[in-house]
């Protein structure tokens, strides 16, 4: 067990490799109740969401969700989040556990729209069921037609008799669902899902596999690839940064950075030998430190050692070789396209 954002959480159940493989080939169940929820309600809800986040929530349909960034006035990340449109006057944001309180405070500070902003984390538990068999397993417990919930959409309904918000989202690179419900039902829903998934080879998964899966899928982790010093352009997240809806927090800085060009860019790399470039290790170009590994480690499904790092744009071209400093020795790595892993369609 490890402390993660104030939550006591298992790093692994049966082992990171076994859990990782289960999610890529069968299914895995994650208790992600640590994740925070913030609900914004009222006629001003959309205005507030639009001001504090960089993706364009005006484009969301009812029952649709998108990935976005909660922005500082400097165009950097307070957090990354999922925005769910429940109604024209009700949005549910899923945020990182460790950032929940500061996110809430940040949103409240910019609430000139008279919206109600609720720090709703204590009212929710969340389970994530992920992997190619996730849909079939969950379907056994719910009358909701899961095939009708498209990717990054959600629906309300019962699972195992419990009222849930069932979203077709995830943080693993696989198909799957994230299920939000009231905490008193967590033991029942976990137990019923494990029972339904056991025969299909589903495994309970901890934080360790959650990290290797998201890294292999090239997804950012707050505090590693993104934080309040990095912008969406630098992080390769231009697709969630919709300048046409400006002004929003930081949009002037982001417009300026787009005109001026970047001084660094997030890249993916593969180690060419067996040694592993890990979080925080230096990346050297011409013997000089040019950046640091933001996340690095084994990619169990790809059977390679991979990582991400910020580098000057002139050294960020796919196919270029870089050097990662590993305990005083330089090891060659090759810049590769992100994501490392993409599930077969």
């Amino acid at each position: 067990m490890v402390n993660f954002g104030g939550w006591d959480m298992p790093l692994e159940y049966s082992g990171i490799l076994a859990e990782h493989e289960a999610v890529r080939t069968r299914a895995g169940l994650f208790d992600v109740s640590h994740m925070g929820e913030i609900e914004i309600r009222g006629p001003g809800a959309l205005g507030l969401v639009q001001l504090v986040s960089c993706n364009n929530a005006a484009k969301l349909a009812l029952g649709q969700a998108h990935y976005s960034g909660l922005m500082t006035s400097r165009g950097t990340f307070v957090d990354d989040l999922l925005v769910h449109k429940i109604s024209d006057t009700h949005y549910m944001l899923c945020v990182n556990a460790a950032n929940q309180d500061q996110d809430h405070q940040h949103i409240v500070e910019h609430n000139k729209f008279d919206a109600q902003v609720e720090n709703a984390g204590p009212r929710y538990c969340q389970l994530a069921i992920q992997g190619p068999r996730a849909k079939d397993i969950l379907q056994r417990l719910t009358p909701v037609a899961l095939d009708s919930i498209h990717y990054y959409h959600f629906s309300f309904g019962k699972a195992s008799g419990v009222d849930c918000l069932i979203a077709r989202t995830g943080y693993t690179g696989e198909d799957g669902f994230e299920i939000y419900f009231a905490p008193e039902h967590s033991a029942k829903l976990w137990g019923d899902l494990m029972q339904a998934g056991g025969p299909a080879g589903m495994l309970p998964c901890g934080l360790g596999a959650r990290n290797t899966l998201r890294l292999e899928a090239g997804m950012c982790l707050y505090g590693h690839e993104i934080d309040d010093t990095t912008t969406p352009w630098e992080a390769g997240l231009g697709w969630i940064c919709k300048m046409e809806k400006a002004p929003f927090l930081g949009s002037d800085v982001l417009a300026q950075q787009k005109r001026d060009g970047l001084t660094r860019k997030l890249v993916g790399f593969e180690m060419l030998d067996k040694r592993i470039g890990r979080d925080g290790y230096p990346v050297l170009i011409g013997g000089q430190e040019a950046g640091r590994v933001t996340s690095g480690g084994p990619a169990p499904f790809l059977k390679k050692n991979i990582g991400m790092a910020y580098l000057p744009p002139e050294f960020s071209t796919v196919g270029m070789d870089i050097v990662v400093g590993i305990r005083g020795q330089g090891e060659t790595a090759r810049i590769v396209a992100l994501p490392f892993y993409k599930r077969p369609q």
Binding site: L11, I16, L17, G208, R275, P300
Partner: protein, 132 residues
């Protein structure tokens, strides 16, 4: 669980003394703490190790750990099986996953280390600290 004829260190290595030579590995407790092992970095043959000197690293999915020599000696063999099957460390830490063999500088040196009973008491204390 912990062989009676081995000696143990606080850093969770074991040594089995056989005359002038010793075989060194990491304990079951260590492999459990490391999780899935994916790579082992070995010393060169002929390397002269001092007691408590780092002689290699074990990389698991989640972390990298140094391995320290329990005693002084010269490396005379490294386990060839671990290059292709580092996961042996998780499966058979006290047997097939031995790391190195050394020619002991002093065959009596290992007797100052913890025996199995002392080591078991030591890790029971560590586990308590963890859960506190």
């Amino acid at each position: 669980m912990y062989p009676k004829d081995y000696r143990y260190t606080k850093e969770h290595e074991w040594i089995k003394v056989d005359g002038a030579n010793g075989t060194i590995g990491v304990t079951d407790y260590a492999q459990h703490e490391l999780g899935d092992v994916v790579f082992v970095e070995m010393p060169k043959l002929g390397a002269q190790l001092k007691a408590r000197q780092s002689f290699g690293t074990i990389e698991s999915v989640k972390a990298v750990s140094e391995i320290f020599s329990p005693v002084a000696g010269e490396v005379i063999e490294t386990n060839p099986a671990l290059a292709d099957a580092p996961e042996l460390i998780n499966k058979d830490p006290h047997g097939g996953a031995w790391l190195i063999k050394v020619r002991l500088a002093d065959p009596k040196e290992a007797s100052a280390l913890m025996d199995a009973a002392a080591y078991e008491a030591y890790i029971a204390g560590q586990a308590k600290e963890h859960s506190a």
